[in-house]
């Protein structure tokens, strides 16, 4: 569904990605792991058309590198940035409405589904999103992207700064998203949640993919974990 080949990305003159290869299949949860600063966020931003990049990004068989972000979104790619990018002054409901690409809600994810899964969001539907707790904001930003009915969502460090109980809730929610047929590319630093829910994992180091495999393979590979993941 998503195939990234030989992706190079740049911030001005600084060359941050040096030929990234990865793929995500339909309905799959795939994790992209690595320490801070290795280029995970840059990878998803390049896929989303937010940074200058060269190489190839194919989505559902078509090249999308070079398209504008809204065109990429309309092809069915969703992005949840690491800073969550909540519209603070707008209400929870308005935040969700902004996730819609047209006027109509999709069959897969509508306001009803969101409110059924997260009753807190329904209770606070008409309050400004800026007053929500960190966990609620994370759910809101995820749901906002799902409202646009993506085929694949790229989620950047959803568990950062959240209490362990909420992290569990996020993990369960990602599972639910995949069950409804939406593929997930999960960017993480924490190994636990990634090992639990993903089918395949990639590990990044210095702007390259340095490992790819299944959770079992990563569990069994002490060398990779020591060199590229543990702090």
């Amino acid at each position: 569904m998503l195939e990234v080949n030989d992706l190079h990305a740049f911030y001005g003159k600084s060359h941050v990605l040096h030929g990234v290869h990865l793929s995500v299949g339909a309905g799959e949860i795939v994790a992209l792991l690595g320490r801070n600063g290795v280029g995970r966020s840059t990878t998803v931003k390049a896929v989303m058309g937010q940074v200058t990049a060269t190489g190839s990004v194919r989505f559902q068989g078509r090249e999308i590198l070079g398209l504008k972000a809204h065109q990429i979104a309309r092809r069915g790619l969703g992005w949840v940035p690491e800073d969550r990018a909540i519209f603070q002054d707008l209400t929870v409901r308005q935040n969700l409405e902004l996730g819609l690409k047209g006027k109509r809600e999709s069959a897969r994810w509508g306001m009803k589904d969101v409110f059924a899964l997260f009753p807190q969001l329904e209770q606070r539907a008409d309050t400004p999103a800026g007053v929500l707790s960190g966990g609620e904001q994370q759910m809101l930003t995820l749901c906002r992207t799902l409202m646009g009915d993506p085929q694949l969502v790229m989620i950047d460090e959803p568990t950062e700064g959240l209490a362990p109980k909420i992290v569990e809730q996020v993990g369960a929610f990602l599972g639910e998203i995949a069950r409804r047929g939406v593929a997930v590319l999960l960017v993480e630093q924490k190994l636990d949640i990634a090992l639990d829910i993903s089918r395949r994992l990639y590990v990044m180091g210095h702007g390259r993919i340095v490992f790819q495999g299944t959770p079992q393979e990563l569990r069994g590979n002490d060398a990779v974990r020591k060199e590229w993941l543990e702090v």
Partner: protein
């Protein structure tokens, strides 16, 4: 009493006019980070086009046609100019809009000459709306107020009740996220820039005949509109509204009054034995610099403006 009331009405009319200009400027600034120096040029073009179109088709069609033409021009300027300049950074953008304002002024002089043109209030709106004792309030001022209020209501509804309005409000803070959700933010920018130009032109259409339509009108109006935006708080529509009314009313009162700061102090019971020269100037003389004094005061005491979210 009647002086107070009539002056207040005049001030509010002028204030609403300032808002028609500053609303577009502040929206453009907060969405795109552009201080559009050419904004008042659209105001001037509105007045001239209304004069030209009005001479052929009459005032009423001109009221509609001139803003639409200028709005289309504004959209084209954004699409073909501002967006290109944007790639070269903020300085390039500033220089571009700065250059554009000179270009418009030169073109206006070429086409319509250096002197004021004879753009008049239509006969159907000439005359007094009502007379309070010996002071009358012109019908045309009432019309200006009605148009401004209609525009205010329209703008409010467009921003709070429509989907485009929601996208605009979200783009004020996180345009890249709005775009990543599938909204064509560049097109929304063009729309806002064009609408801002159209509003400025509408202000020109209704003010050009009440005041004067001449090549210097943009250069005269431009700085005041900037002051309004800064005093209100860069990027804040509510702030721009407050500041427009504040400056409009204050300036009108100062122009209409015939005493000095010293007189004012004496009336309030303050003895001012040897007042500095500045204080002996009449308020009327001080009126033109009042907006700038206010801006300096705001920048010192409340740098984010009356209602702005960020430091200017």
């Amino acid at each position: 009493m009647e002086f107070l009331l009539i002056t207040l009405l005049n001030g509010v009319t002028y204030g609403l006019l300032l808002f028609m200009l500053s609303s577009g400027l502040t929206l453009i600034f907060s969405m795109m980070g552009i201080l559009n120096f050419a904004h008042a040029s659209f105001y001037m073009l509105g007045a001239y086009l209304a004069f030209q179109v009005g001479a052929r088709l009459g005032f009423w069609p001109a009221l509609l046609v001139a803003p639409l033409l200028v709005g289309a021009l504004g959209a084209a300027v954004e699409r073909l100019g501002v967006r290109k300049a944007h790639r070269f950074g903020h300085v390039a953008e500033l220089l571009f809009t700065f250059g554009l304002s000179f270009l418009v002024e030169e073109l206006v002089q070429l086409v319509w000459g250096k002197a004021a043109v004879d753009y008049r209030v239509p006969p159907s709106l000439d005359g007094a709306a009502f007379t309070l004792f010996r002071t009358s309030f012109p019908l045309y001022k009432g019309f200006m107020m009605a148009v401004s209020l209609a525009m205010l209501l329209g703008l409010y509804l467009a921003i709070t009740r429509t989907r485009v309005g929601l996208v605009i409000r979200a783009s004020l803070t996180r345009p890249e996220m709005v775009q990543a959700l599938g909204h064509d933010v560049p097109r929304v920018f063009t729309l806002v820039f064009g609408s801002g130009a159209a509003l400025a032109a509408l202000a020109g259409v209704i003010a050009g005949n009440a005041y004067v339509t001449e090549p210097g009108m943009a250069a005269a109006m431009g700085p005041i509109v900037f002051v309004v935006v800064v005093v209100g708080g860069l990027g804040s529509l509510g702030g721009a509204f407050l500041a427009s009314l504040l400056i409009g009313v204050l300036q009108t009162f100062m122009v209409a009054s015939d005493f000095s700061v010293v007189d004012l102090a004496r009336r309030l019971g303050l003895g001012v034995p040897d007042a500095p020269a500045l204080a002996r100037l009449s308020l009327t003389q001080l009126a033109p610099i009042m907006p700038y004094l206010l801006m300096v005061a705001v920048l010192i005491f409340r740098p984010r403006g009356l209602m702005g979210a960020r430091e200017t």
